[in-house]
């Protein structure tokens, strides 16, 4: 492995690791609160529930965005490109799925 790579790797791992950790904690707390509310009132609170599910569902694209940013700062353009291809497919298919999926 070329010199300098470990620190770059560490930066990427730490950035993505932090976002995933806090993202899952936030989603978990929101979903738990929604579940507790539903058990008491027999209804799922709209805002809380979809904030939790939304946070969860945004984590996959977010990790790709973050990878693109970190690779970009390292001027590792090949990997920026790889990240953007994956992100592009993800966004395009969800937009298409939302429009035509029904």
């Amino acid at each position: 492995m070329p010199s300098g790579a470990p620190t770059a790797e560490a930066r990427l791992a730490s950035a993505i690791g932090h976002v995933l950790r806090w993202g899952t904690i936030a989603a978990g707390v929101l979903l738990l609160a929604a579940l507790a509310t539903a058990l008491v009132s027999h209804r799922y609170p709209l805002v809380l529930t979809w904030a939790g599910l939304g946070a969860l569902m945004l984590l996959p694209p977010l990790r790709i965005v973050l990878a693109a940013v970190v690779f970009g700062r390292q001027r590792d353009w090949k990997f920026v490109w790889f990240s953007l291809v994956a992100l592009g497919v993800l966004v395009a298919s969800n937009v298409a799925g939302w429009i035509w999926g029904k």
């Binding site: 995933l20 497919v89 799925g97």
Partner: protein, 333 residues
């Protein structure tokens, strides 16, 4: 919170759900509930034969199923659909909601497990990002092809692939703990070699990545299967990395855990648009899966690679059996 904010079902496109709403609107007394085993929309009362399953118990069952799915998923790099889909259908929900719940479970497992594995540097991020191009494209192609292909044939094909993978792991149980020989030139150019600390072995494991072209192709196929069958297909990603690309099993499952959420996210918009992601199922399962995936990442440090492979083989065979059963039911049911 104003009462208008609280709705019975929170599917965003509720207006599109006229048939489901009709199903759901009918039974409010328990005696009106459809019999066990018949497809039932969320919100309908839950009755097992002779057993009344009150909301509290139902949520406990879903939560426990989620914990199991998350733990297993974090351990072996799969999304937990193998637990979630049969659980939800056995509770009497329509299989479409089972797949919606499974998609959320995959994303939750992936995020929960990856949070720890990325921090501990077990995940091979460069390999994950590179291979993600092929899985996402594959999932998109799979989703587009879905209307053209027979579900039964697909399920049989998938079961066959899983059986073959399990056999591969059985025949070469220790083959990839360390693979000798030159890594693939492409993998070298992309600097995919990595190392991680394995607490069970008490040392660092260094490895190179082999057969990048084959691995990329297999990831495209895994993506296809995800898009076609609505699963995370970690069951195909792990053998692609472990058997084809020569990555150690723990690195393979950690990298798969990172990737499956992204693959599942390709098709999650479709489930959302169809209103197949319903809070009654996805919230308790999601909470359970997040807790379970955390548990799984704590457990894997104590397990030897050999045991991770054995558990994975069991999961493969269970998924294969499930797929055959689905296919048979679709063909003859």
């Amino acid at each position: 919170m104003p009462a208008a904010d609280d709705v019975e079902t929170l599917a965003p496109q509720d207006a599109q759900q006229a048939p489901l709403r009709a199903d759901r609107a009918v039974p409010h007394r328990e005696s009106d509930a459809p019999p066990f085993g018949e497809p039932r929309a969320p919100g309908a009362p839950y009755i097992l034969p002779g057993v009344h399953l009150p909301p509290l118990l139902l949520n406990a069952v879903l939560l426990a199923g989620g914990v199991l799915a998350g733990t297993l998923g974090a351990l072996v790099g799969v999304g937990g659909g193998v637990i979630v889909v049969p659980l939800v259908t056995l509770l009497g929900f329509d299989v479409r909601f089972a797949f919606g719940a499974s998609a959320v479970s995959v994303i939750a497992t992936s995020s929960g497990a990856a949070a720890a594995y990325v921090r501990d540097r077990v995940t091979n991020l460069r390999a994950a990002i590179f291979l993600e191009m092929f899985t996402t494209t594959g999932a998109l192609v799979g989703a587009l092809l879905q209307p053209l292909l027979s579900g039964a044939i697909l399920s049989f094909a998938f079961a066959g692939v899983l059986g073959a993978s399990a056999l591969g792991l059985l025949v070469r149980p220790e083959a990839t703990e360390r693979r000798e020989g030159r890594p693939s030139p492409g993998a070298q150019a992309l600097r995919l070699s990595a190392e991680f600390e394995d607490p069970a072995l008490g040392r660092k494991v260094r490895y190179d990545v082999h057969q990048l072209a084959l691995g990329s192709f297999l990831m495209f196929i895994a993506g296809n299967v995800s898009g076609l069958l609505g699963i995370g297909s970690g069951a195909l990603k792990v053998p692609a990395m472990d058997l084809a690309m020569g990555m150690p099993i723990k690195a393979s499952s950690a990298t798969s855990d990172f990737m499956i959420g992204v693959t599942a996210a390709v098709t999650v918009g479709i489930y959302l648009a169809r209103g197949e992601i319903t809070p009654e199922l996805t919230v308790p399962i999601g909470v359970g899966v997040l807790a379970g995936s955390w548990l799984g990442t704590r457990l894997i440090g104590r397990l030897r690679g050999r045991w991770v492979r054995r558990i994975f083989m069991g999961v493969l065979l269970a998924i294969a059996a499930q797929m055959v059963w689905h296919a048979l039911r679709r063909t003859y049911g």
